[in-house]
Amino acid sequence: MSVNNPSNLNLNLKLLLIGNSSVGKSSLLLRFTDDEFLSDEETAATIGVDFKAKSIEIDGKKYKLSVWDTAGQERFRTLTSSYYRGAQGVVLVYDVSSRQTFDELLKWFKEIDTYCGESVVKMIVGNKIDKEFSRQVSTDEGKTFALRMGALFIECSAKTKLGVPEAFEDLVRRILATPSLWSKSPSTHVRLTEPVQLEEESWTSSGCSC
């Protein structure tokens, strides 16, 4: 049952957004999935952002992304370990006009090391390049740090959309190029039934897929 080849399927990928409060995670999410822009103040007031789904096409193949937002649990650093489970890609967001949000990326890398699998693909995104006049972190500095942390790097603006689709596309390409994210590697002697769907009374006495 294990999926070894991504080209076989319409794949579902789980991507996470993390980073300090007010760096524009929710704005980035909304820009990417709905092509809308809400300012920090507006998104802070928008409750109920859990995750958003979006399909993207890469080299003629369709992939279904679910991109998860922190639901405010980043504020006191109380994201649940379950938030991180099963993620293939993590987007670490900072605000180019706030050095502190860049400096504190290290803490978020620590969380990833603790809760995610080793091969999870990390991408550092410097957001708010529309605020060029108040920039506190240079592009080179961001690039150098990303290189050191083994992460992809891009700068973007959720406000102007510049760099946003590219960020997610780069991330997905790297995930597709990381085979260890695909092999589920169950030991051969173990019977693994599929997880049950709680909503449905799906099981009938005649059929069992395994």
């Binding site: 409060s21 952002v49 859990d50 379950s82 502190q100 173990v190 599929e194 909503e199 099981w203 069992c208």
Partner: protein
């Protein structure tokens, strides 16, 4: 931003503790539109239901090593006599890959928690699999040594028909009993006057079931602690388990991924956050003061410069200063009977397949497949003990995501006599190690502890209407009953805040129904 403070000085509800019942209450209240501040002085989510990594379990164990349980509050769930073996290099390296449950439990496919998971949509955050098997250990003390074998107990009607070890006549008796138990037996003449009989007597006299079949029913279908359990309560519980069979598969029970209860609690916390709840964990969430006011409660917290007020406060008893809980307790203790439930626990890890999970190569079901025999990944194994409470074992393999590949987590527990003096005389390891040895001969980690739970015949006295205290599970059937108990507590707390005429627990509003429809198409 390094030291954020709360965004408000007032919340509708403050919830303390991120155990399952507290988390369900928090999520349902946030969903209904209440502003919720959810605190936990622990660094981890889950409270009494937490799933811990190996290093967290060792820390936890070190805090509860004392053999006398502390009496800081008489309503605590108390843990004592805990010990662990030390970590090998390999365990040290992998310590964060384990999810070890402080509340090892399986979920009946019908019941309060399943309903709540579905109505709240928290089911999207947690994943479940059908429990692979339930086995009974039968010891045979022939010749020189004691040996025993594990016998899988058929779960469904189909499995009973296929089982060649049961004679045709026994099958008929068994089916008659199962049919009776699945129905409205309360008014049935077969039960009249026998409600308080020990279950074993009822099975053998009223249904003429053999002692071996009775044993299978008592331990592996009804999940009783003792064959002496009162017939009515055992049958009512059994009915729920029987109705659970077939909903999602051949077994009545589901196994939660990544340690179960703790992961489910986290799911409800996530839902609460999505509906606007605020989360603070660890020392900055540890109350420095709490007082009741005319409008509710006022607390002080390290993470906020001013007092924080709320109309209601919901907490499990162990997070509140005893003075708040016990204000009226002198009259209370006299008029109410308390019962103590003392349980010995073991959590062990092994790298070899426990025999109880091995699928018999002669199993005709598997013979037609040319595929390799696939063994179970999860199992409940029951050790009946002559004249004593049952020892229960629950095994989680790699498929549960709670341990590295090729390993198994083994939970053992047994209810001790309710007299505390007896409990002190034996250590949990002396008591459970012999049973661990029957499951596996080479564990790489072992941990033991005692839990003491108090049952209260009435609500815990509350010093003020604005303080709602959740009752921890107290009983000997935690494995199969604990999760639904927690869910029930969460719902009760919700209605204490909202009132019976308010919005329904996890009521969906119209726009949400529409959105759900769209989402379904989209995914």
């Amino acid at each position: 931003m390094s030291n954020p403070e709360l965004e408000s000085d007032h919340y509708d509800v403050i919830v303390i503790g991120t155990g399952l019942s507290e988390s369900i209450a928090a999520a349902s209240l946030a969903k209904s539109g209440k502003s919720v501040l959810h605190l936990d002085p622990n660094e981890y989510y889950g409270g009494e239901q937490a799933s811990l990594t190996l290093d967290e379990l060792i820390n936890w164990s070190n805090q509860h090593a004392s053999s006398s349980s502390s009496n800081s509050s008489k309503y605590h769930i108390r843990y004592s006599s805990s010990s662990t073996t030390s970590l090998t290099e390999e365990l040290e390296f992998n310590k964060r890959r384990y999810s070890l449950s402080l509340f090892p439990s399986i979920l009946p496919s019908r019941g309060q928690l399943i309903d709540t998971l579905i109505s709240s949509d928290v089911s999207k955050y947690v994943s479940f699999r059908i429990l692979d098997s339930i086995s009974l250990y039968t010891s045979t003390q022939t010749e020189k040594e004691e040996s025993g074998k594990f016998r899988k107990v058929p779960g469904s009607k189909e499995e009973i028909f296929k089982d060649k070890s049961i004679s045709l006549i026994d099958k008929r008796k068994l089916m008659k009993f199962l049919l009776f138990t699945a129905g409205e037996f309360e008014q049935d003449d077969l039960l009249k006057g026998k409600e308080n009989q020990p279950l074993i007597q009822f099975l053998q006299e009223t249904f003429s079931l053999s002692s071996s079949l009775s044993e299978s029913i008592i331990y592996a279908i009804s999940h009783c602690t003792s064959p002496q359990e009162n017939t009515l309560s055992a049958l009512q519980r059994t009915r729920r388990y029987l109705k659970s069979i077939g909903r999602y598969g051949n077994n009545a029970f589901l196994v939660g991924q990544y340690g179960g209860a703790g992961e489910i609690s986290q799911g409800f916390c996530r839902a609460c956050a999505v509906f606007g709840g605020t989360y603070v964990l660890g020392p900055s969430a540890s109350l420095t003061s709490i007082e009741t006011t005319s409008e509710g409660v006022s607390i002080k917290l390290p993470c906020h410069p001013r007092p924080v007020t709320a109309s209601h406060l919901i907490s499990s008893p162990n997070h509140l200063p005893s003075v708040l809980i016990q204000r009226n307790s002198s009259s209370y203790t006299n008029s109410n009977q308390e019962e103590q439930f003392i349980t010995a626990h073991c959590v062990a890890i092994t790298k070899t397949l426990p025999a109880a999970l091995r699928r018999n190569t002669l199993d005709p079901d598997l013979k037609d497949d040319n595929e390799e025999i696939e063994n179970d990944d999860t199992a409940v194994v029951v050790f009946p003990r002559e004249g004593d409470n049952v020892v229960r074992c629950y095994v989680n393999g790699e498929g549960t995501g709670s341990c590295p590949p090729g390993q198994y987590i083994i939970y053992l527990s047994t209810a001790l006599s309710k007299e505390p003096s007896n409990a002190k005389s034996t250590s949990p390891s002396e008591m459970l190690k012999p049973y661990l040895d029957k499951i596996t001969s080479d564990s790489i980690f072992e941990s033991y502890y005692i839990s003491t739970r108090l049952s209260l015949t009435s609500d815990i006295p509350e010093s003020s209407d604005s303080i709602i205290i959740l009752k921890p599970y107290a009983g000997d059937e935690l494995l199969t009953e604990g999760l639904d108990w927690e869910a029930k507590q969460g719902e009760e707390a919700y209605y204490k805040v909202i009132g019976k005429d308010g919005k329904q627990f996890f009521e969906k509003d119209a726009t949400e129904e529409e959105e759900l429809g769209i989402d379904q198409d989209d995914l």
